[in-house]
C-alpha cells in the first residue's frame, strides 16, 4: 500500500530525535556486543528518554495491531506480505517477535515517514498500543489460557481488552485528525467477541477456534455458552451469541455473505494457518480502504491479489520450516499452550493420520511460563499409536503426562540427540515432525537447524 496522506508527521520534537538516536546507538551496541538481536534494549533506552516516543513515531502512518493468544507472529507476517504490493510500498513491522512497546518503538524508529506499520502486540499491551498508535485496524485472533503464572487469566484479559476497545467510542481528542479504527474480530471465539462488541466498528470474521474450555461460562451473564458442531455458539441465558459474519472460512475457502468464494493456497500448512490468513486478508483489505468511517463488510476487490501475496509466506521465524538432517526432512513446529498443541495435532492428523514418530520438547523457562500443569490440558491421547521421544528441560513432566495418555515415549536428555534418536526409528524416508513450546522450539531451531 502507499503512504497515507492522512496527516503529515509534524516536526518531531528534539526529545524524540534524541531518543531515536540513543535507541539506534543502543541497538548497534547490543548487536556488536553479541548480546541480542538488538531491538528490545534500544527500545527501552528510547522510551526511557522519551516516554511518548511510541505515539510520536506512530503519528501520520496507518497502523495495524495484531493480537491474540495464538497466531500473532504468523498473522503479522502474513499481513505484511499482503500489504507489500511490489510497487515499492514499505511496510514496517516488529518481525523479531518483540511484541511489547520497546520492540514497537525499535521497529518504528527507522521507518520512513508515512510508511504503514503492522505491529504484533502482546495481549497485555493492547490498550496502551491503541491509545498511543491510533491504529487503523485492530485484529483480534483468539483468546485462551496461556502462561497463567505470568499473564492475567483469560477473563481479566478479556475485560481489559473490552475496556480498551470501548474507549474507541469516545473518538480522538479535539483537533486530532486520525482515521477511525476498525476492529477485525474472530466471531467464532466468544471471548474475542465479548471484547470486540465494545468497539464502535467491527468486521466479524469466522475462522474457528479449536479450544472452547475457557469460554464455556458466558462473560456477559454467567450463563453457559453452547457450541454447535458447525462452530456457532450462543449463551443459554442471555442474548449473547455469535454475531453475523462478514466473511468466514470453509475448509480452504474464504467465503463472503454474497456467496463469493476465494480459495486459499498457502505456503503454510494446517487449518489454523488458513484462519490466520483469512484474518490477515480481511485486515489488508481494510488497511487499503479510503478515509472515512469504515463499514462492517469486507471490501473484496483485491482479495485474490491479497491472498496470492500472503501465500508467499512459507515459514515464520523458523516455524513450519523443514530442515535437512542426515538426508531426512525434519519439520519444526511451535506450540505454546493447549489451543496451540490441539491445532498442531489437527495438522498432524490432516497430513499423515497416525503413523510416524514425533519428537516433543517442553521447557518451562520465564518466556514459556514456569508452570507445566497445562500439559494435562493438551490432548496427548491423540498421539496414541505413534512413538514419541520426550525431551527439553521438562521432559520428565512430559514423560509422566504421556504415560497417562497411553503414548509410548522414550526420554532423551539432549534435544539434538532426541531428533537423531527419532530419525533412527522412523520408517524409510518419511519426514519427522518436531514440536516444541516457546524456548524449546527456539533451542531446536538454533541447534538442530544448523
Amino acid at each position: 500500500m502507499t503512504a497515507s496522506a492522512d496527516a503529515s508527521p509534524g516536526a518531531p520534537r528534539a526529545r524524540a530525535v534524541t531518543a531515536v538516536k540513543a535507541l539506534q546507538v543502543s541497538n548497534w551496541l547490543s548487536r556488536a556486543l553479541g548480546r541480542g538481536r538488538g531491538t528490545v534494549a534500544g527500545g527501552r533506552v528510547g522510551l526511557a528518554i522519551d516516554p511518548t516516543l511510541l505515539s510520536t513515531l506512530a503519528r501520520g502512518r496507518p497502523v495495524a495491531l495484531v493480537t491474540g493468544t495464538n497466531g500473532k507472529t504468523t498473522t503479522t507476517r502474513m499481513l505484511v506480505a499482503a500489504l507489500s504490493d511490489g510497487r515499492g510500498a514499505v511496510v514496517v513491522s516488529n518481525d523479531t517477535g518483540a511484541n511489547m512497546p520497546a520492540g514497537h518503538v525499535a521497529a518504528l524508529a527507522g521507518a520512513p515517514a508515512g510508511a504503514a506499520a503492522v505491529l504484533e502486540v502482546d495481549e497485555g499491551y493492547l490498550g496502551r498500543l491503541i491509545e498511543e498508535t491510533a491504529p487503523k485496524v485492530v485484529l483480534l485472533l483468539n483468546l485462551s489460557r496461556d502462561q497463567m503464572d505470568r499473564i492475567s487469566e483469560v477473563r481479566m484479559l478479556v475485560d481489559r481488552w473490552r475496556a480498551a476497545l470501548g474507549r474507541l467510542r469516545d473518538g480522538p481528542g479535539a483537533g486530532v485528525e486520525v482515521p477511525a479504527t476498525v476492529v477485525v474480530a474472530n466471531a467464532d471465539d466468544p471471548m474475542v467477541t465479548w471484547a470486540a462488541l465494545a468497539a464502535p466498528d467491527v468486521v466479524w470474521v469466522g475462522v474457528g477456534q479449536v479450544w472452547h474450555l475457557d469460554a464455556v461460562g458466558c462473560p456477559a451473564c454467567g450463563g453457559r455458552i453452547h457450541f454447535d458442531g458447525a462452530g456457532s455458539w450462543a449463551c443459554d441465558r442471555c442474548g449473547f451469541a455469535r454475531p453475523p459474519r462478514a466473511a468466514w472460512l470453509e475448509r480452504s475457502d474464504l467465503v463472503l455473505p454474497g456467496g463469493e468464494r476465494f480459495e486459499m493456497e498457502l505456503g503454510l500448512p494446517g487449518q489454523f494457518n488458513r484462519a490466520n490468513a483469512a484474518m490477515a486478508a480481511v485486515a489488508a483489505e481494510l488497511m487499503g480502504a479510503g478515509p472515512g468511517r469504515p463499514g462492517t463488510s469486507v471490501p473484496a476487490e483485491d482479495l485474490p491479489a491479497v491472498l496470492a501475496r500472503l501465500a508467499s509466506v512459507d515459514q515464520v521465524a523458523g516455524r513450519f520450516s523443514s530442515i535437512l538432517r542426515r538426508g531426512r526432512s525434519v519439520r519444526l513446529l511451535l506450540a505454546k499452550n493447549p489451543a496451540g498443541w490441539t491445532a498442531i495435532f489437527d495438522l498432524l492428523e490432516e497430513e499423515a493420520g497416525s503413523g510416524p514418530p514425533v519428537v516433543l520438547s517442553v521447557n518451562a523457562r520465564t518466556a514459556d511460563g514456569l508452570d507445566t500443569s497445562w500439559l494435562w490440558d493438551v490432548p496427548f491421547e491423540r498421539l496414541a499409536g505413534r512413538s514419541a521421544v520426550a525431551t527439553g528441560d521438562r521432559r520428565l513432566d512430559l514423560a509422566v503426562r504421556l504415560r497417562y495418555a497411553g503414548v509410548d515415549a522414550e526420554v532423551v536428555v539432549d534435544p539434538t540427540d532426541a531428533v537423531d534418536r527419532a530419525l533412527g526409528t522412523a520408517p524409510g524416508s518419511s519426514p519427522l515432525d518436531v514440536v516444541g513450546n516457546y524456548t524449546a522450539f527456539a533451542d531446536l531451531r538454533d541447534r538442530v537447524g544448523r
Binding site: 497463567m148 474450555l213 464455556v216 454467567g222 508452570d371 490440558d377 526420554v411
Partner: protein, 272 residues
Amino acid sequence: MTSGSARRGLTIAVVYPDLLGTYGDGGNALVLTRRATWRGIDAELVQADSGSPLPGADIYCLGGGEDGPQVRAAEALVADGELHRAVDRGAVVLGVCAGFQLLGHSFPDSVDRPHPGLGLLDVSTRKGTGSRAVGELVASPTDEAPRLSGGRPIPWLTGFENHGGVTTVGPGARPLARVVRGVGNGGGSGTEGAWQGKVLGCYLHGPLLARNVALADLLLGWALSPTAEPADLAPLDDVDEAALRDERLSAAGAPGPGLWQRLRSLVRRPGT
C-alpha cells in the same frame, strides 16, 4: 454409587471442568482412573459439567478456577446437594486451589467479599495482603497428616501454587503438611492443605496427583475401603513418576527427601 459396588468398580468424577479446570487439574482424575485400571480395578472417568446434576461417584475432583467461576461452582454445588450426600455416604473428595477454598466455610469473591463455601472442610479463606503466591511448593507431611495403608506416612509433597488466598484450618480439620518451600495456606501458619475424613484439599497443582502418586493411591485406597483405613493396593512401576518427583524436589532446593522417601518406599513396599 452404592456401597456394594465400590469394591467392584470406581466412578471418578471431575466436578465442573467447565468452571474449575484452570490449571490442568483434570489430570488428577485421569491419574486416579489409570492407576485403578492398571491394577485391574474397573474405573470410569466422568466429566461432570456444571449444567447438569452432579452424578453419583466414589471420588470427586475439584480443580482451580477464576474468581467468578469459583462463586458459580460453589452456588451450583450447594443447590445441587449431591456432593454433601456423597460425603455423608463416604465418598472421597479432592479439592485443589479454588476447589480447596470452596470446600471450606467461606472464600473471597472477585471483590473480596466473603462468599459461603460448602463447609465440607473446616477451613476458611480470606484474601491475602501481599502478592499472589506463585511458584514451586514443597511440603513435608505433619504428624497429623493422613496415613497410607499399613500406617505408612505420605511422602513429601511437590507441586506448583498460584493463588492469592490465606486459608485458616479450624479444629475440625487437620493440616496436610508443613511448608518447606513456597507459601501454602499462608498467614504465618507454615502449613499446606487440610483434610477431614475422606475430604482433602490443598494448593498444590501440577497436577497434584501426577507429582505425588502416593497421594493418588491414598485416595483410591480410601474409596475402596468402608473404613477410615485406606485399602491396600498393589504397587505399580512408578519409574517415570519417581524421576519427576526427585527432579522437582531438587529443583525446589529440597534434594534429600526425594531420595530418602524413594529408598524408604522401596524398603517398606508391601504386598510384593
